[in-house]
């Protein structure tokens, strides 16, 4: 009996990972190839840092050409840093299921006994290295190149806003992923389309309060809109950083959005997965 147990081929399957253990292991398993893969050709670091910096520089110089108050430079730098998180959700999480389908991995994810949410979180976590590098690089670059300074009003509120924004954002990313599961060739185009219009609606490069009230209110369904508005109020203590809504109100709305998106994404993902299986779209690869 001892001999049987010591042989990995004949040993009984004694430690079955289920529940949270399986969930966590799935996250790590999906994040692993992304992190390791990125190390194989690290030229991405150059582009991940360069790309957002160019955009930030452009908008900063536009404000300088318009002789805008220096606070606006800080707004642009913050917006540039936050684009990293939106792009990570959009390309490395939502539309990733489309790429996985093209590569033939999606059916393996479906038949494996793990949670689809865990796979999506693994993708996000794996892309976090590049995302954080991008966000930090833009912030440091903005501070060094354009002399942006931060005057933090409340660290506690800032932490709450950032955390809730990220939870709501990635919850929304999971919701979007379920929709992308149904897309064919249009997935790439839809993801591509969700860049500039979102940068516009969410006020990445200008305060959202300058949009008409109902437009800003509608855009507030995107977590980054209120997240950035609140963060601007909390890190730039100036006459220009007045927000769309008071910070405390925005924190409550972000908390509501976080819960809503996480709960809805869980059910939507399960529903769309079933639908995709029923309609045979899991292996469909129209090109």
């Amino acid at each position: 009996m001892d001999n049987l147990n010591s042989n990995p081929l004949t040993r009984p399957y004694s430690r079955k990972d289920i529940g949270w253990r399986l969930f966590l292991k799935t996250i790590i398993a999906r994040a692993y190839p992304r992190i390791v893969g990125q190390q194989r050709e690290i030229s991405w670091v150059l582009f991940e840092i360069l790309l957002p910096m160019f955009a930030v520089c452009t908008y900063v110089f536009v404000y300088r050409a318009l002789e805008a108050p220096e606070e606006y430079v800080g707004f642009v730098v913050m917006g540039g840093a936050m684009t990293a998180f939106w792009l990570n959700v959009l390309w490395s999480m939502s539309s990733q299921l489309y790429w996985e389908k093209q590569q033939g991995n999606l059916q393996l994810y479906i038949i494996a006994p793990n949670s689809m949410m865990a796979i999506l979180l693994g993708m996000a976590l794996g892309g976090m290295l590049a995302t954080c590098l991008r966000a930090v690089a833009v912030t440091v670059f903005g501070m060094l190149m354009f002399g942006v300074t931060f005057q933090i009003v409340s660290y506690l509120q800032l932490f709450a806003v950032f955390t809730l924004t990220m939870i709501a954002l990635y919850g929304m990313g999971m919701m979007m992923a379920s929709a992308f599961l149904l897309f064919g060739r249009e997935a790439w185009h839809i993801a591509n389309l969700a860049q500039e219009p979102i940068f516009l609606a969410s006020g990445f490069f200008f305060p959202i309060k300058f949009l008409p009230f109902w437009v800003a209110a509608g855009a507030s369904l995107l977590p980054l809109t209120l997240g950035m508005d609140a963060m601007r109020q909390l890190v730039f203590n100036s006459e220009f950083s007045g927000g769309f809504l008071p910070v405390s109100t925005e924190i409550w709305i972000l908390a509501g959005l976080a819960i809503l998106f996480i709960v809805v994404s869980k059910y939507l993902l399960a529903y769309v997965e079933k639908l995709a299986v029923r309609e045979g779209r899991i292996t469909e690869s129209r090109r």
């Binding site: 194989r40 110089f61 500039e196 200008f206």
Partner: protein, 284 residues
């Protein structure tokens, strides 16, 4: 009738590119897609401008920014379009290896793929400009437009962009899939150094020479001058030069960039063949 390999490659690639670009959805959604993205990019600048100037759209700076941004759509479309064809064909459709063994001219084929993006880009440019004219007080008087200068500049500029795209396509050939960003990175860099949405004088002094070396700087200046003449000449950056002088500089720089691009593509193409990168897929 026998057609040349180059023309056949270009024509077929342009048609293929157009089909790939347009047939993923119905025409209405395709039209929306083609319009919303560039208009949103323009709207960001319009709102930034409106916030700071409190809605004063009569300043000469506004048409400078607006038209520069509108024509810059071509840079993203044509230049990035040529280089993205490598990522598309190699990584997504996995057909690049077949293209290489087919009796076509590969550089011309890639330029043809950019040709399709030129058509889509032209629609976006036109709609962006019309929006500016009808809703944002961008004053273009058709009777005063220098059409000759406009079409000559536009044609040379688009060829120049396609050739720079060829250089980026070569670079893309020898790098991994995430280097689809090469085109975007270069387009973003040119956005700053070409004075597309702000006069070059706003740049720090040590960065301005980079802008003066870019053919896109002169291309955008000529397009603005041909459409809104005096407004464009109101900014000091290139005001001491006549249209003909700027055209001469642009042609010279375009030839230089074109030759370098063809040379770089040949080298990269050689490396890709030697190292088996023509059918490489990289996705993680």
């Amino acid at each position: 009738m026998q057609t040349s390999t180059s023309w056949r490659s270009f024509r077929t690639a342009a048609w293929l590119g157009w089909v790939i670009e347009s047939n993923w959805t119905d025409p209405f959604l395709f039209a929306v897609y083609s319009i919303v993205k560039p208009l949103s990019g323009a709207a960001i600048l319009v709102i930034m401008y409106g916030v700071i100037t409190e809605g004063n759209f009569d300043s000469a700076l506004f048409p400078y920014i607006y038209l520069g941004n509108a024509f810059y759509i071509y840079v993203g479309a044509v230049m990035t379009g040529v280089s993205w064809a490598v990522v598309d064909d190699r990584e997504l459709y996995k057909t690049l290896k077949y293209m290489y063994i087919a009796p076509i001219n590969i550089p011309i084929y890639l330029l043809g793929r950019g040709g399709a993006r030129f058509i889509v880009g032209s629609i976006a440019v036109l709609i962006t400009i019309l929006t500016g004219v009808f809703f944002l007080n961008v004053n273009i008087n058709l009777a005063e437009v220098n059409w000759g200068l406009f079409f000559v500049s536009l044609t040379i500029g688009v060829i120049m962009l396609a050739l720079i795209g060829l250089m980026l396509a070569g670079w893309t050939l020898i790098t991994a899939r995430h280097e689809g960003f090469i085109g975007e990175a270069v387009a973003a860099a040119l956005y700053i150094f070409s004075g597309a949405v702000f006069p070059l004088d706003v740049l720090p002094e040590w960065l301005r020479p980079v802008g003066y070396f870019m053919p896109t700087t002169y291309w955008l200046e000529l397009l603005r001058r041909s459409l809104v003449g005096d407004v464009a000449q109101a900014f000091p950056t290139l005001s001491q030069f006549s249209n003909l002088e700027i055209l001469g500089v642009m042609i010279g720089l375009s030839i230089l960039f074109g030759l370098v691009s063809v040379w770089v593509f040949k080298i990269c193409d050689n490396i890709a063949r030697e190292n088996g990168m023509i059918d490489r897929t990289t996705n993680y």
